[in-house]
Structure formats: C-alpha cells, structure tokens
Amino acid sequence: MGLGTAEDTATEGAPVLVVQHLSKSFVTKKGAPALLALDDVSLAAHRGRVTGLVGADGAGKTTLIRTAAGLLAPTGGTVTVLGLDTFRDAIEIQRQVGYMPQKFGLYQDLSVAENMTLYAELQGVPMAQRPERFQKLLRMTDLTAFTRRRAGALSGGMKQKLGLACALIKSPRMLLLDEPTVGVDPVSRRELWKIVYELVEKEGIGVLLSTAYLDEAERCHHVVLLHDGKKLDEGPPRKFKDQIRGRVALVTPPAQIKPRQIQNRLAGRKGIVDATIRSGRVRVVMAQEGVQSLARAMPDAWQPTIQEAAPQFEDAFMALIPHREGHFQIASRSTAGPGADQDEVVVRTRDLQKWFGDFEAVKHLSFEVRRGEIFGLLGPNGAGKSTTFRMLCGLLSASGGEIQVAGHDLRRAGARARARLGYMAQQFSLYGQLSVAENLTFYGRAYGLANSRLQERLAWADAEFDLARWRNTPAGQLPGGYKQRLAMAAALLHEPDIIFLDEPTSGVDPLARREFWLRINGFAEQGVTVVVTTHFMEESEYCDRMLIMSQGASLAMGTPAEIRELARTPERPDPTIEDAFVALALGEVAPRGRATDAGKAGPP
C-alpha cells in the first residue's frame, strides 16, 4: 500500500457525523414484509479522519450514506451531521457537505468546466473565489487539460475525479463518498486516495466513504464493518488484524503443483475460513491458530512450504463475516486430469484491430489460448477488453486481423460452431422476469438439449449451483451472487468446450467472487478452456496466463509470476499484479511479452 497506513493519526477531531440507533426499512411491494436495510446502527465520523464503511453487497453502506446526505428519512434513530439533524435541517446540511453518489452525478452532455460551474452555482460559490478554487481542484484532480471535454467522454477514473471535484467545490466540512473507486483502474484509485488524504490532512475535513475493496479499508483511520444491515464491528484497521494474528498462513506450492490445486483442496474444509491465491502462493485464513496443521489437509507427496503471514484486513473480514450455507461446495472436483498441458490452440488472434469511427479501440492484438487454460483479459474500464472479447464471440466484426475460435471465425461461422461454446455476458444477462427454471430451460433448449438430457442437466445445475430453492424465483429478484450462479449455470448447461466470461465478478461481493473462482478452477481442471475479462487485478492470480490491456493496446502478457516479476524492485520485493499494472501503466517498466509479438510468450 504505497501510501502507508494512516491509522496512527491519534488526534481525534470533533465528530462531524453521529449516527444513533439508525434503522431504515423499505417497503418493496404491497403486502410483502419491509426490507430492513439498516438495523440499529450507531457510529461516528470525526474531523480530520477517514471513516470507512466496509461490507459486502446489500450490507447497507449506500443506505447509510444517503441517510447522512439527507436523501432518506430514517425509520428509527437519528443522524446528526455537523450538529444538525438530517431529517429536519437537510438543506442546511447540504450547504456544508460534499456528496458523491455511486454514479458520480455528472451531466454527460456537459463539459468538465460546465459541470464544475453548475455545482459552484448551486452551492453558491461567489464569482470572485471561483477561478482560484477551480484551478486548485483541477490541479488536484489532474483535469486541467480536459476542462472542455464532455464528461461523457472521460475515462472512468477521470469521471470519478471530476465527481470528486464537484463534491469539493465549496470546501465542504464533510465529504460523503459512496463507493468512489468502483470500476476504476488501480492508478486512478491510488490518485483518489492521495487526494482524500490531502483534504483530510490539510483542510481537516471529515470523510465518510464506503467501499467494497477490502484493501482500501486499511487506508481508513476507522473502519465500520456492516453486514446485512447490522454493524458487526468497528475500530482502526489494526484492531481487526490483531484479532486474527496467528491464523493466517501462506502456502508455497512445490514446483509440480499449481497453487490452484492447493486452493481447491483447502477451500471449504472444516476449520478453514478462506483460501485464496496471492502472488503465486495460497493464502489461508484458519478458524483457529496453528497454521502448521494445514499440512495434514494435503497429500504427503505435495510437501508444501507453510509459513505464518501477517494478517491483512481482508483476512479479518473473511473471518468476521458469517459464512453462508452451501458455501464452497464443489460437486465436480477434478475428475479429468489437468488439461492445461495439452497443446491444442483453441483461440487464436492475429493482428486484431477494431476501429469505432476514428477511434482505435483495439490495437493490433495477437494471442493464443490453449485447451484447458484459464486466460484472462485484464485492464481498467475502457481498456478495450470487452471489445476484444466481443470480437472473439462473434458479436462484433473485427476491423482488421484474424480471429479463430475452435477453428472458426464466429462472425462468419454457422450456428453449429457456436453450439460448442458457452457465453456469460456482463451483468449476468438473464431474463429478469422469468424464473430460474424458465431461464435454464430456455438456454438448455436453445442449445438443443431436450427431454431426459435436459432434465438431467437441469438437475445438475440445481445441485452444482445450489439453485434448487430459487427455482421459481424470477431471476431479477435473485441476490447478486445467485444471479451470477444462474448466469454461469446457463452458460455451462450444454457442457461447452470453451467458455467466455465477461466481467463475471463485477458487482459481486468478495464471498461470491471467491466461490466463483473455485468453480472456474474446477471446470478448467476438467479440460474446459476459459477466457475471462476482469478489472479486479488480484483475480488474475487465478489465470494461467493473462493479457493486460490499456487503451486498446497490450501492456504485457504472461503467467501471473512473469507479470509480477516485471514490477520487482529492491524496495518492492514481493509485488502484486496490481503493482505491476501500475508500474506498466505509468511507464516505469517496459512492456514485456506483449501480445503484439504474435503471442509467443507461452507458459514456461
């Protein structure tokens, strides 16, 4: 965490926000029980400090921030901002706080300067102060060169910084940020945090922000952990980490074993809270102390190296969150042998190009994917990975170069060629009004499954994805994690050879993300080829190989170890993929193993 931990700032300022016994329920439908979004939550945020609201989806983070902004009326309890009640004095509060909603609240048709002017006028910033204030904010957010660009044409990171600038237009005494870093690339995330710290340290304002990125929690002075509308715990991040000291282990796999195999082995076992792949090793959080006992959970032949590791906030989070039923139950574990060493090339692109008008969205990409591989397309929003992906699936025509998927160009190939692949679109495209069973039946039939074969596969989906109890629920009303499961079940129902997954983990909480990757591992072990896009850098650890993209071009391609290696420096002996990305994006290291080099960089 380049900026260091700020939790040792001991001086506690005056409270800017006091939440007392706050409850908030929503009536969704007539007759249906009201949805309890917040249940008796009390907390405080202080001047000169960053208070983080951390929790999975549906934890109540957004509801709390909106209530603090005076957008929602509490069902029970009180919220006081700067000594004013949010229910009665909303307007007065709104004069003194800055608020950035999840979608940034920018007018897409207005330029950067026009958006800022709008908020300056609405907040009553006097004309005389504006030039100076604007200059300062633009400098701070690095947007000086883009004042005339339309907000709609900005990249995700720039939009977010502009949103922040608009929220800061009148030097607020308190800043409310709702998931400010969602969908933003790592470089922009780091810049945003830098700005937030400057504000807190120099101007002494209080910041309340919500985040689903657990690594960001460590950057807060004070963390409030929400789950299902209830406060689970709060305190400085160190307090959380101290609770699980001695329960975190790093397992380094021996040469012939993949970290994925170890993870598959450990995940879901009794006594193991969490198992993830980090920088080529498996990070394990245990229910009790005693990390060496892990060795017993693995075959003797593996002989992995086990060492205790310093806990991170994420480990504590996993340990604190109540785990769901049916979590981590993988029915189909490695039946077929590991398929990754088969040499058959399943997906091949050469010199792939895409132009939208005079905008080059994809610049000369060449890469190959082999059977049974998990191949990741990584990059921030707008890097061109979705465009590449859609060309692979035959949804977009390429402007130049060639594509072959299982020997066909899907754009031109007939329906039969498509029958062998599975596709899971962004945002888990399901028919929201149709029930789970109807969705599955439709996709089954669409791929030619019928009668007993269809019934068999439906039963498989119910069991594998734990969908049985949701059978008759409309897909649109499923919780996020189950939507993702259903989408995956639909894509896998016909047992495809290749599956394409577009941002399968965006908008899904950390628990569901872990589960998802375990499943994907399972399918890859069975010889299914997986092509996946993601903007979560740490997820690339699960891939066999990856292609990192930025602005349509390839930055690097290789195995996770190779990519990490790029960013290794004396000061940073153990870099993460994210570090590597930042280094690549900032041009600190030279791109390597680039996909433009005809994809020769294969696994070692």
């Binding site: 949804l395 329906a415 596709y423 028919y431 009004q433 149709l434 439709f442 039939r445 791929y447 030619g448």
Partner: protein, 371 residues
C-alpha cells in the same frame, strides 16, 4: 430440422413468458389498445350531431314557425337561443354559443303567399369548416323537404328534386368508416410495441448477445420473435373486428377468409417494420419513440381519418409505401362493400412485397448492429 424447430419453439415460449411477466409490457398491451378502441370508436367521428343554432325570426308567422319546427324536430340540431335583433348575431356566433344562426326576414310569409321565391339567411361559424359544411347540408335537406311539402299542398309548382343515394353506408355514418379500419390500426400499435420492444428489451438487459452467441440462425430468431407479435396482433385485430360489429354495430358484409388473410398479410408486414425499428434501437426508450415516429404519420397518412384523395398529388403517390393505407382500404372493402379475397388482392400483394424487404433487413440488422 428438428433442432431448428426445437430452438424456435423454445424462443417462442420464452417470448410469451417474458411478455406476460413484464409488468411494463403488460401495461402497454392492455391499456392503450382499449383506450384507443373507445376513443376512436366514440370520439373519432365526423358525424355532426347536436349542432347548436340560434334563430332570428323577424316574420313570426305560422309559416316561419312551421319551418323552424322542422329544424327543432331534427336530431341534428339543438336550439340554444332565440334572438330579437340582428345585432345579437355577432355575439352569439363569436362566442360560439351557436354554430349557425337562421335568419328569417320580415316578409317571408308574404312572399310565400304571393308565390314569390324567398330566401332565408344562414350564418355559419366557419372555425370548424367541416362542421359548417355538413350542418349546411342538413339544413338544405330540411328546407328542401319543406319546399316539397308546400308543393304537395299545391301552394307552388314543381321544382327539381335531387334524389340522393349513398351506397354501402346508406345513412352516411362516419363511425362505420372509422371503426371498420380500427382493427388494423390498433393491431398495428400492438404489433409494433410487442415486436418493437422485443429486441430492444433484450439489448437493454444484455440478453441479446447471449442469443447471438447461442446456436440460433438469424432466420430462427426472426421467426421466434415474429410469432408472438403476430399472434397478439391477429387476435386483437379479430377481437376488435368483433367489437366493431357487436358494440359499434358496423355491418360485416365480406368474407371471413378475406378478413383473416388481409390481417395476416398486414401483420406480417408490420412485424417486419417493428423488428427493424427494434434492431435499430439500443434501448426500449428508443424503440418506443421509433415506433411512435413510424406510426404517427403512417396512421395519419393512411386514409384512416381523412381521405387520401384530399392530399396533394405528390403525397398521394408517397402513401403507396405506407402499409396502413392498404389494410384500411381492404378492411373497408370487406366490412362495408362485401369484398372477398379476389377483390382485396390488389391491397395484399403490396403488403407482402414490403414484408419481403423489412423482414430480411431486420434479420440482417440483428447481427450487424451490435456494439
């Protein structure tokens, strides 16, 4: 072949389920058609009734009263005011209290007794010229009848009788004219909305990509997407045709075969247009506005409410590419003129020709317009 059929069936089944389960689609399917049926049926009429009129009778004789009594007895007219001086005419017409004023001069009865032709003056409010002309026609008929009765009583000689007959619609009810075409227009609205939204909805929710990646051929998607719209459209068109006959008492003189065949041809064409609009739009919003932009001129320029023959020549030629024009004509021929299939055929082949353009164009668009 079996695979194709199975996939199409799966698609159709899914289409029906998603139409019935989407509250927004249900709203669109039920509300507007019903409202339109009654609005068109009741409000869209050129029949002129209850014409408010005022009378200025300067003669006050039994003859003038006899003439005015006929006016009062007609269901087309409604007396609102009896004026005492011609200065009042201005006010009464300007303020729209009366749409026409009948002015009988002081020597009306004397002229009649002496066998001298005489004139009554009628002042009409021309703000709605159509109402004015038709009211004038009604008045002319009443006066003519009055003349004939005078002649019968031997008070005057013969005259010229304009003997009028209207074929197909003897009482000249414009409701017949409007309502007979209603099935076509309303079914178009429904078909446009069902098919227009179908692809746009999938685009908006991201499921369309899923369909394109699945082993569907464009033709299969086309058929799967067309069938629900066609069934809904045909069902509604027939339902509204029955409603026209039973509720609005429009005669049905043609053959059922001709009706079903014409509606089917028309609906196939409209499905093509709807799918084209849908595959061009990226959101349901755009699809809805797109359908609106197509339907509005298509209805107005179809002869549904006002005759095509009244348009300038260049526009009349232009209406040949308007599918609604053909179905309106065919429906009127079937309902009112008793047409069978051979008689409506000239209206049907242009429809089929249009379908041959729009449907393949829509199928091509499926794949070529995706971002």
């Amino acid at each position: 072949m079996v695979g194709t059929l199975r996939r199409i069936l799966a698609l159709i089944r899914k289409e029906f389920a998603s139409i019935f389960k989407d509250p927004r689609s249900r709203l669109v399917l039920v509300g507007p058609p019903l409202i339109q049926f009654f609005i068109f049926g009741y409000a869209a009429t050129f029949d002129v009734k209850n014409v408010r009129y005022a009378v200025l009778d300067e003669d006050r004789s039994s003859e003038s009263r006899a003439l005015l009594a006929r006016l009062q007895g007609s269901e087309n007219f409604e007396l609102v005011q009896t004026l005492s001086s011609d200065r009042d005419i201005d006010t009464v017409v300007n303020l729209q209290r009366a749409r026409l004023v009948v002015h009988i001069g002081p020597d009306f009865s004397r002229a009649l007794h002496n066998g001298i032709p005489t004139t009554i003056q009628v002042i009409l409010d021309g703000r709605n010229s159509n109402v004015a002309l038709i009211a004038l026609g009604y008045l002319g008929n009443i006066v003519e009848q009055f003349n004939r009765d005078l002649a019968a009583r031997g008070q005057t000689g013969g005259g010229i009788l304009l003997e009028e007959r209207a074929w197909y619609n003897a009482n000249l009810q414009s409701r017949w004219f409007i309502v007979s075409g209603l099935g076509g227009v309303i079914s178009m609205v429904i078909v446009m909305i069902v098919t227009g939204l179908s692809i746009a909805r999938e685009r908006e929710f991201g499921t369309f990509d899923q369909l394109l990646v699945a082993p569907f051929r464009p033709g299969e998607i086309l058929i799967g997407k067309s069938v629900p719209g066609m069934l809904f459209g045909l069902l509604d068109a027939l339902l509204f045709s029955v409603g026209a006959v039973l509720w609005f008492e429009v005669p049905f003189r043609g053959t059922l075969t001709a009706l079903i065949l014409s509606l089917t041809c028309f609906i196939i064409t409209i499905v093509g247009v709807g799918l084209l609009v849908s595959s061009l739009s990226m959101t349901m919003q755009q699809a809805l506005l797109g359908s609106f932009v197509f339907m509005m001129p298509a209805i107005i320029l179809s002869g549904f409410t006002t005759p095509i023959e009244n348009m300038p020549q260049w526009l009349q030629i232009g209406t040949h590419i308007n599918p609604v024009r053909y179905i309106i004509r065919a429906l009127r021929e079937i309902f009112l003129e008793g047409a069978g299939v051979p008689m409506v055929w000239p209206q049907l082949w242009p429809l089929l020709l249009m379908a041959c353009v729009t449907l393949p164009a829509a199928a091509w668009m499926f794949r070529h317009r995706s971002q």
